[in-house]
């Protein structure tokens, strides 16, 4: 462990021993369908409430990740998890089922990388040998809680994003053939005054840019060090803004592939309902633990920086006229050899 600014350099090679992703039907119709472990054909996930559906996604992905790591749940020493639901209740129920000591976290859609960064920290420092990190979201729980009941069928502007129905989990430990968690940058809260909850991409872009800038300032690396830098989830509105902010800060992002989990997870043909792209805790989680990990494991990619963004608003803060505080946490994944 070496601290550089707001970045942790993990020196003892914590790695992702195994990961698992479980998604809903719309994600299963997207371009990454081949990268997920299990795809439900119904958005109810065979459950009676949206909340039970979300919980099931996380419970299944977490259990599957443990099985794929060839471990028993008793061997998981800590579970670091969180989600978008009030009081992160989906993660708590998953933790109850798992039975492991539980570190509940919240970073909205950045929870995927907040939990992975902490899990890697625990393993790197000897605070744990095997940690499960994970998160989930469901389109209909998020709509219900943050916006309107889906039954209203309310229309949305093209800047709106579509919450991913899915869960991604990873087991962090040492050894194995999975990617190393090389370093992590913990983000600051950025708030440039945007108040429109249907334009999360624009609200979150400054947080992504700030964390990316901090990452390169802290590490002395340049963007070309990575094969790919993937934000999550700025989508089609936020990514160009982040890019522009980084150009202004003279971070040469054009040297590397700069893309976004919210753009990767859905197809252009799904745009009628996904609008600007995907979002939600599950978005960067299923793209990272499904798609990116697969590309790392088959060596299409060797070094990837995942910069998960989160809009930390609450429905109440928005209703009371507050602007949207945002954050981004970055984690670098690298294949050895």
């Amino acid at each position: 462990m070496m601290l550089k600014g707001q970045t942790w350099e993990f020196t003892s090679k914590p790695s992702i021993l195994a990961s698992a992703t479980v998604v809903g039907p719309e994600e299963g119709q997207g371009p990454l369908s081949g990268d997920f472990d299990y795809i439900y054909d119904n958005i109810e996930i065979n459950e009676k409430t949206w909340e039970k559906a979300e919980r099931k996604l996380l419970e299944q992905a977490s259990q599957l990740a443990v099985v794929k790591a060839e471990l028993t749940k008793e061997q998981i020493q800590f579970f670091v998890g969180g989600d978008l639901m009030n009081q992160i209740i989906s993660s708590t129920f998953a933790a109850r089922k798992l039975g492991a000591p539980y570190i509940g976290v919240f970073g909205a859609c950045s929870t995927s990388m907040e939990s992975l960064a902490l899990a890697a920290l625990l393993v790197d420092t000897g605070a744990a040998e095997r940690v499960l990190a994970g998160t989930a979201s469901h389109n209909c729980t998020a709509e219900k809680q943050f916006r309107y009941p889906t039954e209203y069928g309310s229309q949305k502007p093209p800047t709106a994003q579509y919450t991913v129905t899915g869960s991604g989990c990873g087991v962090v430990g040492k050894g194995g053939s999975g990617p190393i968690v090389a370093r992590a940058t913990i983000g600051r809260v950025m708030d440039l005054g945007i108040k429109d909850p249907f334009n999360m991409g624009a609200a979150m872009a400054p947080a992504a840019a700030d964390t990316i800038e901090a990452h390169f300032r802290d590490t002395g690396l340049t963007p070309s060090y990575y094969d790919q830098i993937v934000t999550g989830d700025l989508a089609s509105v936020g990514l160009p803004i982040a890019n522009e902010l980084l150009q202004k800060a003279e971070i040469a992002m054009d040297e590397t592939e700069f893309t976004d989990c919210g753009l990767l997870v859905f197809d252009l043909k799904q745009q009628t309902y996904v609008k600007a792209g995907g979002s939600g805790c599950g978005c960067s989680a299923v793209v990272t633990y499904g798609h990116i990990l697969k590309r790392l494991l088959n060596r299409e990619l060797k070094k990837v920086l995942v910069v998960a963004t989160g809009a930390l608003l609450s429905p109440l803060s928005y209703q009371q006229g507050e602007s949207i505080p945002c954050i981004a946490h970055a984690v670098a994944l690298e294949m050895e050899g």
Copy 2:
């Protein structure tokens, strides 16, 4: 750093450099009034909404802790915080004001010790030199969100607890004359099927007992090692249940003083409204960072184990008939010499 079971033994002596507490009028009328840094004479905290009031408590306590540590806010490398509000929005706004990289956590009323455990972990392992940990709650935001608008004046059973209006924060670093954070035990989710949100003490008691049992199993210590073991917040209903569970587990709690933050913070004469005792993220935070720290610093106590309990339910999970999942995280504070 040494991992023993679910307990972290901090080996490089992370300590609380300074702490601060800001409370409302009812806490100021309680027996610990002399231990708090600032007491508001109005529960509105001079703000127009309950949410702004809660946020202000946390912003002020965090700033005051930094000042008392003779640091600038730029020297705080990470803020680990959370609260009871949906999307932990109070902590997020405090993090925005502070400007430090932010690790958002949620453990309901156990957040006080979850955040302190993580802050100590960061400092102990070299992942940070100076970390701020803190949380807050406000009676009226909690009532509004979890129960009924206070304006209803709804009656409560004697098992109900009263959410503390207050915030407690601590700066963790190395050196200084404050207590050492010697070890921490991260709890598991315990749920014995209790569904009554007006009886949190009974729901949380098994979590407290489980974490205390784990703490002594992991460390090989016995209760008599500590001058005081303080749960937070089991209050008058939960504490005897936890005690009974520990007796059954043959943990000899009678060798040490066993008490509870929810009992310490209010007077018997306040019982007409506080019922079974205090609760809320702020309860164990203000008792620990105010009262207990003071008693440690003046050496009335030398070794204290704070076992903060959290009821992790959401209003929605309760409405959907789910039982109340609970957790407890324990942190040991010790004066040297």
